[in-house]
Amino acid sequence: MTAFLSLAVALSACMLGAAVALTAARMLRGPGIADRAVAMDLLGLLAVAGTGMMALGTGHVALLDIALGLGLVGFVGAVGVASFIERTAREERADG
């Protein structure tokens, strides 16, 4: 690996780390469940990007399979949270 590529990996790790910190801050702050769900969605995408970056940095191709799995889990998680929010809202409305 050239020096340029390893520098790029280090820089990209810093940027992705900052992105994760900002997203986590939004997740902690909320204020609503929808905001947290959006932050969780983005965290999944950032995990995919981070795994790709790690695959590049370490040279392990197998990490790309993990990225695929993370993408799948993120999708299922987001849809699950969405249906939870919607069902809660509908039940509360039905209660009055």
């Binding site: 790029a8 959006v38 995408l45 849809v79």
Partner: protein
């Protein structure tokens, strides 16, 4: 060469992902945050993965990366649509600057911040107006606002079907206080907390007084407490009510604090005064322009004080008499007896001393001086 390109793609992807995170952190509501998270998030992750594929080379890696990117492109729009729909149905607040809501009336929207807490259950959202008027009482000023609000509730007895007591505590983002004296880093937040606690307690006392009043009058009530950008929160709450009742002293004080134009003047706002009587004689100021005609139509739609005697006054302006005649005809068409009170050129402008309620267009039009004088006159004011 391939490694250089891979490094550039990696950096570009990380930068886009960082921009997505900044968007999620900084944008004002859940829907706008979603806009940043999904689009920029997918592009960022895809660019990073393409960079990895380019660096590794080889058909197997390319297939895998193409699979992941295709998968992200297929699933993220689906999950973000599901989330956006759930957020809308769940009543996630919208940014005050949102111009259009195309789902209004299409999807039922839950209002989670309104917790029913007393009396009869309020009518379901979207119930027809015939069910009665929903009033929002703004409890910002503390106990000294109580006489005006109680008087308004008593005066409108039978006209208000349900009341929401909203205590609003204006709070901006935490201010940077600059260099502080010795020990100030401890005392400054402490004092701020103390001030906020005192304001909460004042709002609570006022809310207790009004709860008792609502119970005595048989008006179902519920209570809400909000802290944040007061103008935005008030505008959001007002949109769900027909009538916004607040003390006139408080409103005028805020108008003076923010300049000559009141910070928030919307149709359906009642500026209450202590000693307010049930409206028997109502004065409507018609400024002889289109805005006044619309305000009159809104006031007639609201149907407040239907049994009262409606007097339509116009200031001494050219063309006012013709507009007045039209307005009287409009009121008659809605089944309201009204009489015109034109002011001849050079005469004194109409005074509100003999009236129980003054109805003004929400924004001063041609007759600004008369409008402002009536706003501060002896009678309570309804903005229409």
């Amino acid at each position: 060469m391939a490694e250089l390109l891979a490094a550039l793609l990696l950096l570009a992807g990380s930068a886009v992902a960082l921009i997505a995170a900044i968007g999620v952190f900084r944008l004002p509501d859940a829907f706008l945050r979603m806009h940043a998270a999904t689009k920029a998030g997918v592009v960022g992750a895809s660019l990073v993965l393409l960079g990895a594929a380019l660096a590794f080379g080889g058909g197997e890696v390319w297939v895998r990366v193409a699979l992941i990117v295709a998968f992200l492109l297929a699933t993220v729009p689906v999950s973000s649509h599901a989330l956006a729909r759930a957020a809308y149905v769940g009543g996630a607040p919208m940014w005050g600057g949102t111009a259009t809501d195309q789902l209004r009336g299409v999807l039922a929207r839950h209002a989670p911040e309104e917790a029913p807490s007393g009396g009869a259950r309020p009518a379901a959202a979207g119930a027809p107006r015939a069910a009665g008027r929903r009033a929002l009482l703004v409890l910002t000023g503390g106990p000294e606002e109580a006489p005006a609000l109680v008087a308004a509730l008593r005066a409108l007895r039978g006209e208000v079907a349900e009341a929401t007591l909203l205590s609003l505590l204006p709070r901006g983002p935490r201010e940077r206080s600059g260099p502080v004296p010795f020990g100030g880093a401890y005392w400054t937040p402490q004092l701020a907390e103390h001030r906020i606690a005192a304001a909460r307690e004042a709002a609570g006392q006022l809310a207790a007084t009004l709860q008792e009043e609502c119970a005595a009058l048989g008006i179902p009530w519920r209570i809400r407490h909000e802290e944040g950008d007061a103008d935005r929160l008030l505008a959001q709450a007002a949109a769900r009510h027909d009538l916004v009742i607040l003390g006139r002293a408080l409103w005028l004080a805020q108008a003076e604090a923010t300049g000559t134009e009141p910070a928030f003047a919307a149709p359906g706002m009642l500026l209450a005064l202590p000693g307010m009587a049930p409206p028997g004689r109502v004065l409507f100021l018609h400024e002889g322009d289109g805005a006044s005609a619309e305000a009159l139509a809104r006031f007639l739609d609201l149907g407040l004080a239907a049994g009262a005697r409606l007097v339509l006054a116009a200031p001494a302006l050219p063309g006012a008499e013709a507009a007045l005649a039209e307005a009287v005809a409009l009121a008659a068409a809605r089944g309201r007896a009204a009489e015109a009170l034109p002011t001849p050129i050079g005469a004194e402008p109409p005074s509100s001393a003999a009236f129980d309620l003054v109805v003004l267009p929400a924004r001063a039009g041609r007759a600004r001086a008369v409008h402002l004088a009536l706003l501060r006159g002896p009678a309570p004011v309804l903005l229409a």
